[in-house]
Amino acid sequence: MRFLLVEDNAELSASVAARLGLEGHGVDRAGTLAEAQEFLAVVTYDLILLDIMLPDGDGRDFLARHRRAERETPVIVMTARSAVSDRVDALDTGADDYITKPFDFAELEARCRAVLRRKGGAAQTQRSFADLTFDPLAATLTIAGEVRDMRSREVRLMELFLNAPGRILSKEHLVDRLFSFTESVTDNAIEVYVGRLRKKLVGSRARIETVRGLGYRLTDG
């Protein structure tokens, strides 16, 4: 997916862009509202991540102009303010959702998925591997014409494997990505989810292999 990130704090902007880049997303960074307008004039984005307090104006004004111009690109407001005071304003001026800083990337992705699902449009998000089609927005796996529903964590796990097919992913790595850092997770929790995902993959050439002592990997055949 292609993101436009409008954030004036250079460090935060860099780290959010780096993080989104690691997930395979394209990110353009704008430090001001003027820059954001320049990007929007020439590039079509799947999603805009918008800060509220910017050096050349209020993000909410940008949002209002964006909606008046009838641009459909969904906007998620990233607010550092108290959730209470900004919420009504942001949603009233046409934001599709908001997330308070600091945020969990998994949650940001979940929110992006939810917004894109509501908007119904979004770019090509379906992915294919071996003989299966994976649709993270609809949370489905399609194998030989059979559509299988997935739960949220199964979707995220599937995405992790699809982002690095053939590579070994350690248990720790998967735990970090799948659970929040404040959750207490037992050692076999990840095995439970891998087990469930394997069941969803039954009948497909795609398989999740256990690499003893190292982790798991997604293979074709």
Partner: protein, 450 residues
């Protein structure tokens, strides 16, 4: 202030009435005494003039008219004494003499007690030739003054009645005067009192010149209050921005480092770092939310709000957070629930309740949200299958920075339920937290319907 003004006016009226009474009474007494003295003096003088010397003595021809003048003064008793060369020749020998003997024909007057009565005496001296010698003749004429006392009392009573009348007339007058004087202040107070809690415009009501300094001071105060409130709001927003943006950088960088590091020891440290950043972010968020709730609760910025729609919105908003743990949200919302309140406060309350339910629930459980009408209240109930309250009472958990005994492993500030409770109270509603049958917690937020 009005009562004090009335009292002061009445006190003044009472003092005036008293002065009037004393002045009338003293004046009347003096006037009547002067009149009576003139008559008495004239009678004494007549007596003295009627005296003639005769063979071996003196003859007093008391003309019938002499005492008739005195008789006209009322039922008074009369005493007289005539001394010739210091010898009493007729009348009452014990009638007291004046302190200083009168010199010419002008009479001297004095009051003296005599025979169980207070009498007024006129003394007159004249010289008569008796037996070829000049002898001084002293004529004393005394008269009781009972009639005068009666007249004085009567006059005094009239004076008292007059004073009382003046005082009674002053009562309605004072009330009327006080009301008239205070009316501009009352009108001003009414104009200010009619304003909404959020109306911080300067007072433009017309006021008399004397009240202009007061109105100016009031307007200056309103201006300062508005400035302070605006500053508070801006401060809350700025503070949040300045704390949370660097926290976001810390968290993101730590997460990136975690992705890139292969060393388990470093990774464990990074996880701890992220947990602390989350903890700090959550606490600052709750503190600022709490400050906002307190600020807004005082503002009472109320508008019609549909609790059904709001509940739906909050639930939709928290769905991704619930999804992270594969927690299902089941909504049962009965029709529109129109209420009047501050949507921001209600949203804060609902979000905190639902956030708690998700936070303390195990993965892959169900959180049920029910919104319905019970009597005059809209009741929103959030039930989870989480860890429950472990016997800690609701009242205790509602207090600031109080947390349950069974939640040490989950990040929290202990302000969430305080925010819910304070929002509910500000809205004229209530909040209740109890153990759910079969395990978990059941939180109910009741808000009055429009």
């Amino acid at each position: 202030m009005r009562a004090r003004l009335v009292w002061q006016l009445l006190l003044l009226a009472a003092a005036l009435a008293l002065i009037l009474y004393v002045a009338v009474r003293v004046g009347a007494e003096r006037a009547s005494e002067a009149t009576l003295d003139a008559v008495l003096g004239a009678a004494a003088q007549t007596m003295a003039e009627e005296m003639r010397s005769a063979e071996g003595g003196l003859v007093i021809d008391l003309a019938p008219g002499t005492f008739s003048m005195l008789a006209a003064m009322g039922e008074e008793r009369i005493f007289y004494r005539v001394d010739v060369a210091g010898q009493t020749v007729t009348g009452y020998e014990d009638l007291p003499l004046p302190v200083a003997l009168p010199s010419a024909l002008a009479p001297t007057f004095y009051s003296v007690p005599f025979r169980d009565a207070e009498i007024r005496v006129a003394a007159v001296v004249r010289a008569l030739r008796i037996d070829g010698r000049n002898a001084p003749v002293l004529v004393l004429l005394g008269q009781t003054r009972e009639g005068q006392g009666a007249i004085a009392n009567q006059l005094g009573n009239r004076a008292a009645a007059l004073g009382l009348g003046v005082f009674l007339a002053a009562i309605p007058l004072s009330l009327f005067l006080a009301r008239g004087l205070l009316r501009p202040i009352d009108r001003l107070a009414e104009a200010v009192g009619r304003r909404g809690a959020h109306d911080l415009r300067p007072v433009r009501h017309p006021a008399p010149v004397e009240l202009v300094p007061f109105v100016t001071a009031l307007n200056s105060f309103i201006g300062r209050l508005r400035g302070t409130l605006n500053q508070t709001e801006t401060f809350i927003a700025e503070a949040a921005h300045h704390v949370r943006t660097p926290l976001a950088v810390i968290r993101n960088e730590a997460e990136l480092a975690l992705r890139q590091s292969g060393e388990e020891e470093t990774r464990a440290r990074l996880r701890g770092l992220i947990r602390s950043a989350d903890d700090a972010a959550r606490s600052t968020g709750q503190l600022l939310d709490h400050a906002t709730v307190l600020y807004r609760a005082g503002q009472a910025e109320w508008a019609p709000v549909d609790l059904a729609v709001l509940t739906q919105e909050v639930a939709t908003r928290l769905e991704p957070a619930a999804g992270m743990k594969d927690i299902g949200l089941k909504l049962t919302i009965a029709g529109p629930l129109p209420a009047v309140g501050d949507a921001v406060l209600i949203e804060a309350a609902l979000r905190n309740i639902l956030d708690n339910a998700i936070k303390y629930s195990e993965a892959e459980t169900l959180v049920e949200v029910q919104a319905q009408t019970i009597g005059q209240m809209a009741v929103i109930t959030v039930s989870d299958r989480g860890r429950g309250l472990s016997g800690v009472t609701h009242d205790r958990l509602k207090r600031r920075f109080r947390r349950g005994t069974n939640v040490a492993d989950v990040a929290g500030s202990g302000l969430g339920l305080t925010i819910v409770d304070e929002s509910a109270i500000a809205m004229g509603g209530s909040f209740e937290l109890k153990e759910r049958d079969g395990g978990g917690t059941c939180a109910s937020l009741s808000l009055p319907l429009a």
